[in-house]
Assembly symmetry: C2
Homo-oligomer: 588 residues x 2
């Protein structure tokens, strides 16, 4: 029940994110259209044949924890699949070439990650964290740290984790209490308890590289007093092989709503002789280092939402084409023939593709931030990636849950039975709206930090890009009506952005109150823009089959989703007062 | 973590549904305001003390099935709680007095059901089905059937079930294959397999009364060839005591996403000597009899959605007031102080109350359909109840899932951990959108059967009622702005209704394509209307504390939910073409 979504990935890479153009422009000398096709095809095959069968096993069996040995065992089949995945070189694909990686663009890494996550999101999340940890070490670690740890992480021999959350420090990392003390030999001793650590302990590899946010004694209070440490499960011997067990252990495994295949651990550091840690980056600059990882992780989690949506959509369409209920013209028909079921399937498809488009537009910006021709182009794209990341994360993951829920609904009563598998997608998708910064945090990040980037120029440049697309859409008879709808929605977005910016400058809390509906409004426009680009590219290419579907997606989204933009704008601009009036009642 | 929502129930009963007025007008001679207060207070106490503690146990332990004996055992504590519930007389409360019931109005039955379901929805659903089965027997059964079976069901000594679904017959009951053959002695022999039977087998009572939809050999094909049979688990001896085991057995228990405390059974009828059944109503009129039960059950399932929303809201507010994260003005504050969290909590509260209002408005219509002064009043209210029932069911249950999902989000990472309990509400709520007719079926019922009631007069009368409220809202400075918003939304609803009605008359499938967004639009207007009535009543009563909260709810809903009405109207009227264009792509 999983067919790799290669066509949609290719379309999005080339027509929305312009990968073909970037290759032709020489940005990625080692990449060609043929290589892109080969990588996607091979990854799709691996995802379908090796990873997809893990999905149910991971959910039903889950991970097990042995309190006596602190060991975590993954579900049957996971160890072997991980070994094959590393052997095939997939771990190295998105990693820097200096340490054994293949250095493919973010766009390619994201496409391949979508395939892993569509196959088994509880598997995908682990690989994503390792990749993020490796990037953080590559960006901020000393030459010695990089040489010591990156080759093992790049090859997949070791995995990485991200240790931020503590019981009292979730969305608010300033409350972190884990401590770090200098050992006198250049290393540090870490002590504290971290919770919700994804793949914090497991049996897939012979070592785990934890990145741990901790506070050095005497450091300033708040987020400016945090430092980042590399704390391995096993310290290495002189040959770089795991040798002595470090003083970090798993003391509990969470029982979660979903992603049961992914162990979520409570880790205890420094219970005995002290956990040996190595400083990554400068003292007290840990949060900035961690943000390298988090921004990328946020995009990838948005994409994880899209991936689960894709899986749920595939399953729902297949079911709706098989399941026969109700007559049309005297004949019992598959339920896909009923308009109300078609609406659910159509919403699933266009939301998934709209969110995918935003994710890949963000990845393009990240690639241009690295490889752009001029410093100006790189800076502008870094800012653009910053603007789009919270939207990719929050909208991608909202879509994940919404589409998975529609998938349950398409199945009717069967959807509520675990055996069917539809409910697993809903349970798995739900975490994505929470981890790597809740979607509320994303909305606040968007409004308070991203709209003001370059004094608002980042947003203005992005909006100008949408206007260019609008002009092209208006020039085609087939997309003219869509252009009108998108133009109206963009105007609402611009007005609303101006209002929020003004409130922000005045310190008016209505800016915060409107953050979540504003993000949704932004995503509707950005998603329609992506679908419009897909339609225009197909029209330009004169590809009749592709054109039908892409034109339809763009027009359906315009007629059935964009009409909510005006109302969302009114809620952002007019709903905050009523919210403030109720604050006292809610606070109690 | 459950405080009976007595104040909101009282407000909704009196100010939205006008129960006080109905009592004063003499419709319920046995009821007084004091009795209403006493019943709610006692039910609240019972729900909080006896039922609420079952909720977690039912979820974690679930029901167990012994394949050898076909026995189902409910979770620890459930048997004893059920016994107490019957002893306290709660089973009898909504039932007809002729058979031992207390004959309280539908409004009171609904209020009490909301309390049971808020405490433990997996418990509530069982009592609701018994009540529906009893009503069906009372309405359609012979005098002998009523005398034989109703007293045991009314007292709660026996429970009832609703056996409709078969593997090939879910939303489409015309495909039912279970057969009935005359035994020659006035009884029938039933054979077939029914699935998804809620409380189809359990250990709470010494008998179970199954209502089974089956086809008599030679009956017409389709829904007009179905008959309804009463098939008890145990046949009775001459003293009316359960004696001989009937040929019906549970052959499997579903593993579901939620409501684990409620056994969902596959029942096999007639494997051996044949299951003895008694015809209820006329031959081939079974579906009409079943609809008596289903309409009432639909309202109650809508209310079950509201109940889970209430429970999730209570838990989220309590958590948000305790959990401290993030600073305001230099001080770490409970997250309830953050505007984005306030928006989630506000949305939870107003959606819950709006959906509750619609459910009780429907119940009022049902009571007036029974007790109205004139045949015209009774007929008009029966039609109104028909119009509102699909909205109560679908919107109430959509709100259940949406609010429960927001509840998870308010908890952040803790919300994804099963121990917290927030995720259980999400899992429990999800079934309500599916059973008793999926929400898509409700939307289609609304558009194709309910808008056309009395040639459209039912809708027109309802809309006239909203206009009267609008006028009153416009006369108060505090609600003037809300009146404007509601007036615009009502105008959209009226225009959209006219368009759908015209399409329906012309056999245009766009009427079906727009059904789901149309139902949402209708619910926004109906929900705002209910909140407006609540605000007006508080203003009239000069009750400052109540006025604050009710005015706020009405204004918040108007400013943060009603603005979507115009977009929904545009989707209904303008989105169907794009959906039809995609039908071929979706069908594949």
């Amino acid at each position: 029940m999983f067919v790799p979504q290669i066509d949609d990935l290719r379309q999005t890479l080339d027509d929305v994110a312009g990968l073909e153009g970037l290759i032709e422009a020489g940005l990625f000398p080692d990449l060609s259209a043929d290589l892109v096709a080969a990588v996607l095809s091979e990854a799709g095959r691996f995802a379908a044949e090796v990873l997809a069968p893990l999905n149910r096993a991971g959910d039903r069996h889950g991970c097990t924890f042995d309190a006596a040995t602190h060991a975590v065992t993954t579900a049957p089949g996971w160890r072997e699949a991980y070994r094959q995945w590393c052997e095939a070189g997939w771990a190295a694909l998105p990693c820097p070439p200096d340490y054994g990686g293949q250095g493919l663009p973010v766009l390619m890494g994201l496409a391949v990650q979508e395939l892993w996550n569509t196959a088994a999101s509880a598997y995908g999340i682990g690989t994503l964290l390792t990749q993020g940890a490796a990037e953080t070490i590559a960006a901020h670690g000393s030459e010695e740290l990089r040489r010591t740890w990156l080759p093992g992480m790049v090859s997949g021999r070791w995995t990485g984790t991200m240790n931020l959350t503590e019981a009292q420090a979730g969305s608010d990392l300033s409350a972190i209490q884990t401590t770090a003390e200098p050992a006198g030999d250049g290393t540090w001793r870490i002590a504290g308890t971290k919770i919700f650590i994804t793949y914090g302990e497991h049996d897939l590899t012979d070592n785990i590289v934890h990145l741990v946010l901790a506070r050095i004694a005497g450091a300033p209070q708040g987020t400016r007093g945090m430092s980042l440490f590399l704390v391995p499960k096993f310290l290495l011997d002189e040959d770089g092989e795991p040798a002595r067990r470090n003083d970090v252990k798993c003391i509990g495994l969470e029982e979660k709503l979903g992603i049961h295949g992914s162990p979520t651990c409570t880790l205890r550091f420094g219970d005995e002789e002290g956990a040996v840690g190595f400083l990554v980056g400068e003292e007290n600059r840990g949060l900035a280092c961690m943000f390298t990882m988090m921004n990328n992780a946020r995009l990838h989690v948005g994409m994880q939402g899209v991936a689960v949506a894709e899986r749920a959509s595939q399953q729902a369409v297949a079911f709706a084409r098989e399941r026969r209920q109700g007559k049309l013209a005297g004949e019992v028909v598959p339920i896909v023939r009923h308009p109300d079921v078609q609406r659910m399937l159509a919403d699933m498809e266009v939301k998934t593709q709209a969110a995918r488009s935003i994710c890949f537009e963000t990845a393009r910006a990240l690639d241009l931030a690295d490889h752009g021709a001029t410093p100006e182009e790189r800076a502008a794209n870094a800012a653009l990636a910053g603007l789009l990341t919270p939207i990719a994360k929050a909208f991608g993951t909202d879509v994940g849950s919404e589409v998975a829920s529609l998938g349950v609904q398409v199945h009717g009563g069967m959807g509520y039975i675990e055996e069917t598998g539809a409910a697993q997608h809903l349970r798995d998708a739900r975490i994505c709206q929470i981890y790597e910064g809740t979607n509320g945090i994303q909305a606040i990040d968007l409004v308070t930090r991203k709209l003001t980037l370059e004094g608002g120029d980042t947003f203005a440049r992005w909006a100008a890009g949408v206007k260019a697309t609008l002009k092209a859409l208006a020039a085609h008879a087939a997309t003219e009506a869509m252009a009108g709808e998108l133009g109206r929605a963009l105007a609402v977005l611009e007005e609303t952005t101006a209002q929020l910016t003004a409130w922000l400058a005045a310190g008016d809390r209505r800016a915060l109150a409107g953050a979540t509906p504003y993000l949704r409004l932004f995503a509707l426009v950005a998603g329609a823009h992506g679908l419009g680009l897909g339609a225009l590219a197909a029209l330009a290419r004169n590809d009749a089959a592709a054109t039908d579907r892409r034109l339809w997606r763009a027009r359906y989204f315009a007629a059935n989703h964009l009409p909510l933009a005006a109302g969302l704008g009114r809620i952002v601009c007019g709903g905050g007062d009523a919210l403030a009036d109720g604050a006292g009642l809610l606070i109690g």
